[in-house]
Symmetry: C2
Subunit: 260 residues, 2 copies
């Protein structure tokens, strides 16, 4: 694992694109300086492994740009993407002897890498940093539990719509997309169909069919395989069955078949 020498301690953080969205946000000027001193920039090409499942932790990192996928695999090859990391997200499981997942660059990725020992020392010395990481972990847990509901109970079309919605919300922060009109979103998918199916617990073919279905119904438009235009976010949200949970329902515990 090659580490590039850091070049400019003084300015790197001040010009950092994710400075105020990452875990660094909560740090004071002096804390930032400490962190900066051990940080190294690193660029990882799409498809390359960053961390191996079960291997000893080698590194922590902020995602500066690009998308990282975290996967878990069953022995027979069945696998699942348990999480996606976007710009400003944090990679690495503090306080664990080994990684519980496999981390791989889904697109070309820029990382701000912190060596294990140094980062954990900082964590111990600066309570503010640990607190921020705790906050971030809670957000991760929220997202994970939300996704469980999708995997357990949503239909294929709802899953695909939910996925596109999630991407639409997170990717526009990057340069490859922009909001062009209110409620109209345009972005480039960071994942292949195979990877999407591994996010959703479906097969490639089902994902493809559901995307076609959404296209046919006019909920989305495909510029090309990877590029998607969403004319009306509300309609996609509807297809995702993402409506906010209302008041506790009347004891209807068994699934009620969806109407319309």
């Amino acid at each position: 694992m090659e580490i590039f020498p850091s070049i400019d301690h003084a300015s790197r953080c001040t010009t950092c694109a994710i400075r105020h969205r990452s875990i660094c946000d909560a740090l004071s000027a002096t804390e930032i300086l400490s962190l900066n001193r051990i940080a190294r920039s690193r660029v990882v090409p799409a498809g390359q492994m960053i961390l191996g499942e079960g291997q000893a932790r080698t590194v922590f990192a902020n995602i500066v740009s690009g998308v990282v996928k975290l996967t878990k695999t069953l022995d027979d090859g069945r696998q699942h993407i348990i999480g996606l990391l976007f710009a400003s997200d944090f990679l690495g499981r503090a306080y664990r002897a080994e990684n519980p997942y496999f981390a791989e660059a889904a697109t070309d990725v820029e990382l701000c890498v912190f060596p294990t020992a140094g980062f954990e020392r900082l964590l111990a010395e600066h309570p503010g940093l640990e607190h921020r990481l705790f906050q971030y972990t809670l957000t991760e847990l929220d997202a994970c539990q939300e996704w469980m509901l999708l995997l357990a109970r949503k239909k294929a079309e709802e899953r695909v719509a939910s996925f596109l919605l999630m991407i639409a919300k997170r990717v526009p922060n990057m340069e490859c997309s922009r909001v062009e009109r209110r409620d109209e979103v345009h972005f480039v998918l960071p994942l292949s169909r195979a990877e999407i199916s591994d996010c959703l617990g479906l097969t490639i073919e089902t994902v493809s069919r559901q995307i076609t279905r959404l296209k046919t119904r006019g909920v989305i438009e495909l510029v090309n395989y990877r590029e998607i235009l969403i004319p009306d976010l509300a309609r996609l949200q509807e297809a995702a069955y993402d409506a906010p949970a209302k008041v506790p329902l009347p004891k209807a515990r068994r699934s009620v078949p969806a109407e319309d």
Copy 2:
């Protein structure tokens, strides 16, 4: 929400059954005393709601005994149990304005309850407590991500076996079960079939059929609907597809790159 007056500050924690497994474990004698001062015991009968989804947080608590289920629900009634809490587990999402889930007693439950404001003050004053809670949250996240793989990729029988395995590992800490011989486990299910199906993303009928199947194959024995005997944990583990790599089957579609 009725709060019982605390009776014996001095002795409660020293006689607490979960004293050394809960988040209290990491606390010093003086910290324990502070926590103890605001703690209240509370007993919740099976089926009663403890925390409402989306409602303002009212309370944090240690589970002293019993099982608590955490559920999320879609508007049309589809629901999922995103987590189970057993003795020594912690209930409540610190730093969040509202609860992201419903918490309900699955069995009769004994809680050690901490009022919101008091607990958060302690959290701020005693870094050790926050650190411990962070550790606990990381464990929760691990479990959640593991469960996602189950929901996304395991077959019905594997799911049910995995569930029984999980219960077998956690429930024996309670008085309602005991290890009788090496690899033989006997326990009482804390959940109904309906609740199990909501854990696994299946239907009641499928859960029932798979349990029957496991029984027919001799992997488990049913004393009655709720009471289960596992003659050989290894066989159940096998059925759960929880085992370490045997024969990596024909290169799956997207294989894990890079084994070093």
